[in-house]
């Protein structure tokens, strides 16, 4: 077992409690999982927490993997479910956040902008554009957003996206047409 072992095979070992296999699996997939969540939520700190919870879920559900889909499809399904349940609980906490924002307005700012060095103008522009893209993504309905992120940043096929979302391939096509149309309008101004 090494860094060339397919993820599906590693997961089978994880199901038997192999921690080394799990470590290789986490090292291999932590960045795409983290970025999928980050692009979906637009919150860096929360993304790290959710990515950890996602891999915790992978450890716990390893036995349930039947090998019917690719490992990444299965992994992204867990990730997406975690994101959606986070959004649900965030909606429940929204009224609480409302009071917190009133008492602590700096929470409203993106922290990735706060830690920028004042003289690094290029870096600041890059971060500003990144933030604008992120904000544009946040305006999309959840399913459109997931479909678009999986296509644009993970280069999944329509078939794989349909498997992650549990919908048909024409439905994925339609989600992407609408997502791109909205983003085109939002990003034209940048």
């Amino acid at each position: 077992m090494d860094f060339l072992t397919p993820s599906e095979e590693l997961l089978a070992r994880v199901a038997e409690g192999d921690e080394y296999a799990f470590q290789i699996l986490v090292d291999r997939h932590q960045t795409p999982v983290l970025n999928l969540i980050y692009r979906f939520l637009g919150d860096r700190q929360k993304s790290e927490d959710l990515a950890q919870e996602t891999f915790f879920q992978v450890w716990r559900s390893a036995k349930a993997y039947k090998g019917k889909s690719k490992f990444t499809t299965w992994l992204y399904r867990i990730t997406v479910n975690r994101c959606l349940s986070e959004i649900k609980s965030a909606r429940r906490k929204k009224w609480l956040q409302f009071f917190r924002d009133m008492t602590d307005p700096k929470d409203l700012q993106d922290e990735s902008l706060l830690d920028a060095a004042p003289n690094a103008e290029d870096l600041l522009i890059t971060r500003e554009r990144s933030r604008q893209v992120s904000n544009a993504l946040q305006t999309l309905p959840e399913n459109q957003r997931i479909a678009l992120i999986l296509k644009r940043y993970e280069d999944l096929s329509y078939e794989e996206i349909s498997s992650v979302l549990g919908c048909s391939i024409p439905a994925v096509e339609s989600l992407l047409v609408r997502a791109k149309r909205t983003l085109q309008k939002k990003l034209e101004k940048i």
Partner: protein, 167 residues
């Protein structure tokens, strides 16, 4: 089919064309149309620009020790074991642990009291026992004068000094 009707149909196919998801015949149909239609060609360029712009969202890296924290979470969860799972399933996960601890403590005290009462039959004190307790109290001779020079004697004198001055 009129050109605008065709344009509308092609426009909806441009996204899948961009993603490389069209069949060979559909792909050829789109390319033939694009070659002869400026409006659709422009729309295709805009779509490509949007795709490009999306790449400007920077990728983030996991913080160092990512795996270590995941494995710590797993260790903690297995230590919590059945109780943690049970409480989590019951919806206690979102409550802070002091609240859980207090609730468990309160339930414990209530159960303990109930079990204690049902197991041990509490009898009123026998008159003889009461008499013997009176005997014990009188043997302590609490109202006898304290021996002079002791700490208790000093304290008593201090009290009486204060009392005489207040009056």
């Amino acid at each position: 089919m009129s050109l605008t009707m065709k344009c509308h149909k092609i426009e909806n196919k441009l996204s899948a064309y961009q993603d490389g998801e069209l069949s060979a015949s559909e792909k050829e149909q789109v390319e033939r149309h694009l070659a002869g239609c400026y409006a659709c060609r422009e729309q295709h360029v805009k779509l490509q620009q949007t795709w490009q712009a999306l790449g400007e969202m920077t990728e983030i890296r996991p913080t160092p020790g990512f795996y270590k924290r995941v494995s710590q979470n797993i260790d903690q969860a297995s230590e919590r074991g059945a109780w943690g799972t049970l409480l989590g399933n019951l919806g206690f996960k979102s409550l802070p642990s002091p609240i859980i601890a207090s609730v468990i403590l309160a339930i414990g005290i209530l159960c303990g009291t109930f079990i204690g009462k049902s197991l041990i039959n509490v009898q009123p004190l026998h008159p003889a026992a009461v008499r013997s307790e009176e005997g014990l109290l009188s043997s302590l001779r609490v109202f006898d004068p304290v021996p002079p020079g002791t700490l208790a004697d000093d304290y008593e004198r201090l009290l009486s000094y204060n009392e005489s001055h207040i009056r």
